[in-house]
């Protein structure tokens, strides 16, 4: 299936290659570079590129292109999903997935890639199995290894692959038994200038960090499971049980993993936690424009908005800005025309605002573009959809674990559009 893999950095250098079958010359990447040159933005490179003898399927993560070379029919998603799994594994192993980290750990990377694919077909992709085979590098271990010459490769033969619960290692032991669950929700929304919601939807995940001895069997139930419109599970979750009882029952993998991702549909009314009012005016014939923007909390269930960040792509005609933020810092890049304002925390008593003037290119006509405003924020201790975990029980082990559940809401793709809708195309006329 997957013939070879090339890692390409943003400046177009191949800095790692791996082949699972006969070697494919790296000149095959020239087709990729061509596409890369044609693309206006790094993410505009098409994920699938046909070449005379091969197909290139690539993903872009952390400004590295992972380019897989394929020779015959294979579901493209199969390759894409696998490549993302590779990136996740690297991130899990090295903390970050950067060119430097990969280069520093090139041997571990190679050992991992060797185990993850056999003849181009995925063999071991579960992080727990891999960690049994190849221990992640830590500073301590690196030091010890250089002194003693011992290895990163597990001495024991892996048994995980033989198990019916391949996602969990055997013989796990902890002195402190803990299970933490983070319910993290992201709200995606498009709001029009008048403040009405065009679309809004919530996607949530439950990320877990489980450090429990032995083979615990957990059940997690929700106060309001019916909120979950659409879910996808880690393979450990017993699907039948969920279907019948809406209870998550599972033997957890050891360590960090994503238990569940879910979706709360736009059919349910989603509370929008923040509002933005902006007014950008350009006068015909003048080289000045006015910029005014205020924002404030809307429906936040009493929790504060934090880490608020506003960004907007201003029209091309804007040369520079002279704005005055009531709090936080703002920045305008005259080259990319990107305005960003780091607001920080919103105090409901004193709403933050950003006001001032913009200077325009002399002689240029009035910019008619109404910029889109992107907003980022966080709300701690609250899941916007109202999802609540009811209880977590453990079976199969005798000790009492420490359990914790945390909630958080973040803005995903949250934007306010400049145009008032439905003017030019009003269909009633």
């Amino acid at each position: 299936m997957i013939h070879s893999l090339f890692l390409v950095n943003s400046s177009g250098d191949i800095f790692l290659e791996k082949h699972w079958k006969s070697v494919v010359s790296r000149s095959v990447c020239d087709y990729f570079f061509e596409a890369q040159e044609r693309a206006s933005e790094p993410e505009n490179v098409p994920p699938v590129i046909p070449t005379p003898h091969h197909y290139l399927i690539s993903v872009l993560r952390h400004r590295i292109y992972f380019v897989a070379v394929i020779q015959s029919e294979v579901p493209p998603l199969f390759v894409i999903e696998f490549l993302h799994r590779v990136v996740d594994t690297f991130q899990d192993y090295f903390g970050v997935c950067t060119e430097a980290a990969i280069k520093d750990n090139v041997v571990v990377v190679y050992e991992l890639l060797e185990e993850m694919l056999d003849n181009g077909f995925p063999l071991a992709t579960e992080s727990n199995i891999l960690k049994e085979l190849i221990k992640p590098p830590t500073i301590l271990r690196t030091v010890v290894n250089t002194i003693t010459g011992s290895t990163n490769v597990g001495e024991q033969l892996p048994t995980g692959q033989l198990s019916v619960v391949p996602w969990r290692r055997t013989g796990v032991k902890y002195t402190n038994n803990e299970a933490y669950f983070d319910v993290v929700e992201e709200i995606d929304a498009i709001i029009d200038k008048s403040g009405s919601t065009i679309t809004a939807e919530i996607q949530g995940v439950i990320d877990a960090c489980v450090k429990l001895t032995g083979m615990p069997d957990l059940t997690l139930s929700f106060m309001n499971p019916r909120l979950l419109d659409d879910v996808s599970f880690h393979p450990c979750v017993r699907f039948k049980r969920w279907e019948a009882e809406r209870i998550l029952s599972f033997i957890p993998p050891d360590g960090n993993f994503r238990l569940l991702s879910y979706h709360v549909s736009c059919q349910n009314l989603v509370a929008i936690p923040v509002y933005v009012k902006h007014n950008i005016t350009f006068r015909e014939g003048s080289s000045q424009g006015r910029f005014e923007l205020t924002l404030g909390p809307k429906q936040t269930m009493g929790k504060g908005l934090e880490a608020v960040l506003i960004s907007s792509q201003l029209p091309r005609g804007v040369l520079n800005t002279n704005l005055n933020p009531s709090q936080g810092t703002y920045n305008f890049d005259p080259v990319t025309k990107l305005l960003s304002w780091d607001v920080g925390k919103i105090n409901p008593q004193k709403l933050p605002s950003l006001k001032g003037s913009m200077s325009l290119q002399a002689g240029a006509s009035k910019p008619d573009e109404n910029p889109t405003i992107n907003i980022q924020f966080k709300i701690q201790q609250s899941a916007l959809s109202g999802l609540k975990v009811n209880r977590l029980d453990m079976y199969g082990e005798k000790y009492k674990p420490f359990k914790g559940i945390k909630y958080m809401t973040k803005a995903g793709k949250f934007q306010t559009k400049g145009l008032l809708r439905g003017r030019a195309w009003d269909l009633k006329n």
């Binding site: 933005e41 994920p47 998603l77 999903e81 077909f121 995925p122 079976y395 009492k400 674990p401």
Partner: protein, 981 residues
């Protein structure tokens, strides 16, 4: 090679006898390989270390060997013997890894060795080694395609493997080596369907794609009647009265649909897509809708995933538009989307457009994404397509596009012109003002394609703009020499058309233009000018054609059809690379059309009897372990036998409806229990996480257990203790105890409630209208685990209501105890109510006597348990069973010979009869001649072990081992009766 001095130092390190030096050298070599540097000259020095003791050195040597063996074939052979030795290692993981590396060495000379190794590994006792064998098959095939026939034999053998570990890999091998041998799948079809949910995710994708193709060859089109109807509507009515057979879905077809559906919830996008395409290609129209939600979910994933999903949604939305309509908003375009995503979303939105939603969609189009040039073009084209497809909005679209003509951005204008041109072709009469407007644009617009389009329009409809057209030609003649080629061609075209319709005004202009063209640099334009002059200007030499010049130039031209590029792309299997590229990729297997008549469904029938695994060499202990590991973990093991039975009975619909009702039944039951648990646990809120002193036992007691699960409840404690001493295999069974994946998955222990024998406690006549029945529910009695649960059912057939039903004045043998049911306050006439009470019978069959009271009367009643109800099942492994049995010999063992009743021959029947007679659970057993059961008495917890060994001709031997001899004796009697009656 130029850096040989450095390589010398590596060689030195590799030759040293210090592992740390070797390792350092290997690491540097691997880093070289990773950077694409040539390290082949180190081959001899590296390969020497293939048998190095240090495991990391060894692994890195393997990496090197696999990379360079092809280039250094002779030297590579030196390493082969190491792997051959590894193939015989007692450790399965070493055997597997030896095979893996051996089969990765691409050296033709070792093909026979590889073939032998694969064959041997395919019958290895370890499923992991067998999996590796499956992986090795495509490797060998690509090295030497001549081996195909031998390899097919191995594939056939491995396809019959029952473990989930092997399934995905062998289907992968099948797809690479012999995808055309669909006949190999028949016997394994049901097994693959049933194992699917437990196979690892990558294997699932491969299996689902293969089964899609299989189903297309074996089953009938579930939508055939609808499709036919559509066709028939087009035909005349007379032919429509063809008698057609009602469609009945093959149960195997249904099995596939049912077993793949849960995988729509997979976290793996490739699995979800595989199921989605399976449903799209195989499911009845009414059921395809379920995939929309899952596909929309995938759109929130990485942009590459979005890209592929949108491609497929674009194709699907043409054929099944209704499916995605509810998710319209999910396809709205964001300014942050990459261009290729925007364009695809636009495509989907255009496909979904209809009279009702067009206004929203147009508004979406109108939004300013105009900084992205590729996208602008796509948006305007999309508007054009909406306009052609939906008559109601044509004018609105056209007006909108005309407004865009005054846009500042030339690109927008140009693209609009092109689209307007196409739209106007549909009804030019009404739009002469638009044509006029466009004629004015020629002064400003510079984009060649747009200019050409305008000129064509004016030429084509010059009769609608008789005054303007010659003027445009005049202007164009002026600028002719500076125009681009496509514009020049259109100027010639315009001139010719005007000459034909209005020669008086334009004769000179036309000649001028033709003269200019005659001396153009481009030979196309020169040719065209010459050709046209001959055609339109009559001379003596001009041939017969010039008579028809007007017809040639001003013929009515068909309006262009604006079609989605995704139309009919579904002849490629969705989700495939070929579909995405809209071109057949190498190795693509065509998705066949449905057959006209279904092939024989009986080819998929398999004997239910499990064949004994063929590895005989291994010790019995290993064998057992493997068997356990093979057991499907989460899937319902019921499947294996289920569909086989249904296939035997030819009527498909019967079995289908049966399973359907079963599903709905369990659904409602669990919903009930769900509500219960919600209300019961309200007190301990989620914040409880911090209260770590929470007593687990307490929770267990308080938590109402859903009925299906409760059989195993009393055993929890026992098995937890067991767990500490035995490890993994036993743990598996505990899994079943704690969380039976499905009620049906432990058929040995659960007696369907319909089979519970009921006894009469109070007859209707004696009870004056109140009749009472009881049965032993075999549920654990949660308030006291030492009591037997007795389910009592009151029916009030009197005309008045009975009040305050309760138990009083129990007269019990010493030691016996009763836990009464809570008083029933009112039982209205004609109603029935059930309650559960617990009785500790002290492991004896003595009756429990008590009074049953209503508000008016008291009845003396008694409950006498059959001996089989005094016990509850426990789970043990074969080993433990043997061990325990060994300790209960002599007086504690009772053996009886018997002849099985005719209907009772066969394992299944024996198990059923024994478990009906006594509340025991089955113990796994290697031999199919013997059935074993275990339980313990409810009060004292004494072990009760039963084994039935069947011999030929229905002869059998029954053995009961129990510390309590009385119980043993009575149990033998009861089971004997059950098996022989």
């Amino acid at each position: 090679p130029s850096s040989s001095p450095r390589h010398d130092d590596l060689k030195e390190m590799l030759d040293s006898n210090k592992d740390s030096l070797k390792l350092e050298a290997m690491k540097r070599i691997v880093a070289m390989i990773a950077r694409g540097k040539n390290a082949s000259d180190l081959f001899p020095a590296v390969v020497k270390n293939v048998a190095c003791k240090n495991i990391e050195v060894k692994k890195l040597v393997y990496v090197y060997l696999v990379r360079y063996a092809e280039e250094q074939q002779d030297l590579a052979l030196l390493s082969i013997s190491t792997f051959q030795r590894g193939l015989k290692d007692p450790n399965q993981l070493i055997r597997a890894s030896a095979l893996r590396v051996l089969s990765s060495i691409r050296v033709t000379i070792i093909v026979p060795i590889m073939m032998l190794a694969i064959k041997e590994a395919a019958s290895d006792m370890s499923p992991y080694v067998r999996k590796t064998a499956a992986h090795a098959i495509p490797k060998l095939y690509s090295l030497d395609p001549e081996q195909k026939d031998c390899l097919i034999e191995v594939i056939e053998k491995l396809l019959a493997d029952k473990t989930t570990l092997v399934a995905g890999s062998v289907v992968m091998a099948f797809e690479e080596v012999c995808p055309e041998r669909i006949d190999l799948i028949h016997k394994n079809y049901r097994k693959l369907c049933n194992l699917l949910i437990d196979v690892e995710e990558w294997g699932q994708v491969v299996i689902i794609n293969m089964l899609t193709r299989y189903a297309r060859t074996q089953f009938l089109n579930p939508n055939m009647n609808e499709d036919k109807e559509e066709k028939e509507k087009k035909k005349t009515e007379a032919t429509a009265i063809v008698k057609r057979k009602p469609y009945v879905m093959d149960p195997d077809h249904r099995l596939l649909l049912r077993n793949t559906k849960p995988l729509l919830q997979s976290r793996n996008a490739a699995v979800v897509m595989a199921v989605a395409q399976l449903y799209f290609h195989l499911a009845p129209k009414a059921e395809v809708g379920v995939i929309a939600k899952a596909l929309v979910r995938l759109m929130r994933s990485h942009s590459e995933v979005q890209y592929v999903v949108l491609q497929n949604v674009a194709t699907m939305s043409i054929k099944r538009r209704g499916m995605f309509e509810p998710y319209l908003k999910s396809f709205y375009i964001r300014s942050t989307d990459p261009t290729q995503i925007k364009v695809l979303k636009l495509e989907v939105l255009t496909n979904l457009a209809n009279e009702t939603n067009i206004s929203t969609i147009l508004r979406e189009f109108q939004d300013d994404h105009f900084n992205d040039k590729d996208f602008v073009a796509a948006t305007i084209q999309a508007i054009g397509r909406c306009a052609t497809n939906i008559g109601e909005v044509r004018d609105t679209c056209l007006n909108g596009l005309v407004q865009l003509l005054s846009n500042r951005d030339e690109l927008v204008v140009a693209e609009s012109v092109v689209v307007i041109k196409k739209l106007l072709q549909m009804q030019p009469e009404q739009h002469s003002d638009i044509i006029k407007h466009m004629a004015k644009l020629t002064d400003n617009i510079q984009v060649p394609m747009a200019r050409a389009s305008i000129l064509w329009l004016i030429g084509e409809y010059c009769e609608h703009v008789p005054k303007i057209a010659p003027d445009v030609l005049r202007k164009m003649a002026k600028t002719f020499t500076n125009e681009e080629d496509i514009v020049k061609l259109q100027i010639i075209n315009l001139a010719a058309k005007l000459y034909l319709t209005n020669s008086k005004q334009t004769k000179l202009l036309t000649q001028y233009v033709l003269n200019l063209a005659k001396y153009d640099q481009n030979y196309d334009i020169r040719d065209r000018a010459r050709f046209i002059r001959q055609l339109i200007v009559p001379t003596d030499k001009s041939g017969a054609l010039s008579k028809y010049a007007k017809k040639l130039f001003l013929a009515l031209k068909p309006a262009p059809v604006l079609e989605s590029p995704f139309k009919d792309r579904d002849h490629f299997q969705l989700g495939s690379l070929s579909h995405l590229l809209n071109a057949k990729a190498g190795g693509y297997q065509v998705l066949p059309d449905w057959p006209e008549a279904a092939p024989d469904p009986s080819v998929r029938n398999v004997e239910v009897k499990e064949s004994v695994p063929e590895w005989t060499k291994c010790s019995s202990r290993e064998k057992r372990k493997e068997k356990k590991a093979d057991k499907p973990f989460y899937s319902d093991s019921e499947g294996e036998s289920g569909p086989t039975e249904s296939a035997d009975s030819d009527t498909a619909s019967g079995s289908e409806s049966g399973s359907g009702s079963e599903e709905s039944g369990s659904g409602s039951e669990s919903e009930e229990s769900n509500e219960e648990s919600e209300s019961a646990s309200e007190e301990d809120e989620e914040e409880e996480g911090k209260k770590k002193k929470k007593n687990v036992e307490k929770i267990k007691a308080r938590k109402p257990v859903p009925e299906s699960e409760s059989d195993s409840q009393p055993n929890t404690i026992a098995s937890v203790q067991v767990f500490d001493t035995i490890c993994k295999p036993a743990w598996l069974y505990m899994q079943f105890l704690l969380n039976p994946p499905l009620p049906v998955s432990v058929p040995q222990t659960i007696i369907p409630s319909g089979n519970l024998k009921t006894y009469e406690l109070l007859h209707r006549i004696t009870g004056e209208g109140l009749s009472v029945e009881y049965c032993f529910s075999r549920q654990p009695f949660s308030p006291d685990p030492h009591m037997v649960a007795v389910k009592i059912q009151f029916t009030n057939s009197a005309t008045s209501e009975a009040k305050s039903l309760h138990v009083e004045d129990a007269k019990l043998q010493s030691g016996m105890r009763i836990k009464e049911f809570p008083e029933i306050e009112v039982l209205p006439a004609g109603e029935t109510i059930s309650v559960v009470m617990g009785i500790d019978f002290c492991d004896s069959t003595q009756a429990a006597n008590f009074q049953l009271c209503t508000h008016t009367r008291k009845f003396f009643v008694s409950i006498q348990p059959p001996v089989g109800e005094l016990m509850m099942p426990i789970f043990m492994t074969e080993n433990e069973f043997k061990k325990e049995q060994g300790q209960l010999m002599g007086m504690n063992e009772i053996t009886e010979k018997l002849t099985l009743e005719e209907k009772c021959q066969g394992e299944h029947a024996v198990v059923q009869r024994v478990t009906t007679a006594a509340n025991l659970s089955r113990v796994p057993c290697g031999s199919d001649k013997e059935c074993r059961f275990a339980g313990k008495t409810v009060t004292s917890g004494s072990l009760v072990l039963v084994s039935v060994v069947t011999k030929e001709d229905g002869a059998a031997q029954l053995t009961v081992n129990c510390e309590k001899m009385v119980i043993g004796t009575m149990l033998v009697k009861d089971i004997h009766q059950a098996l022989t009656q």
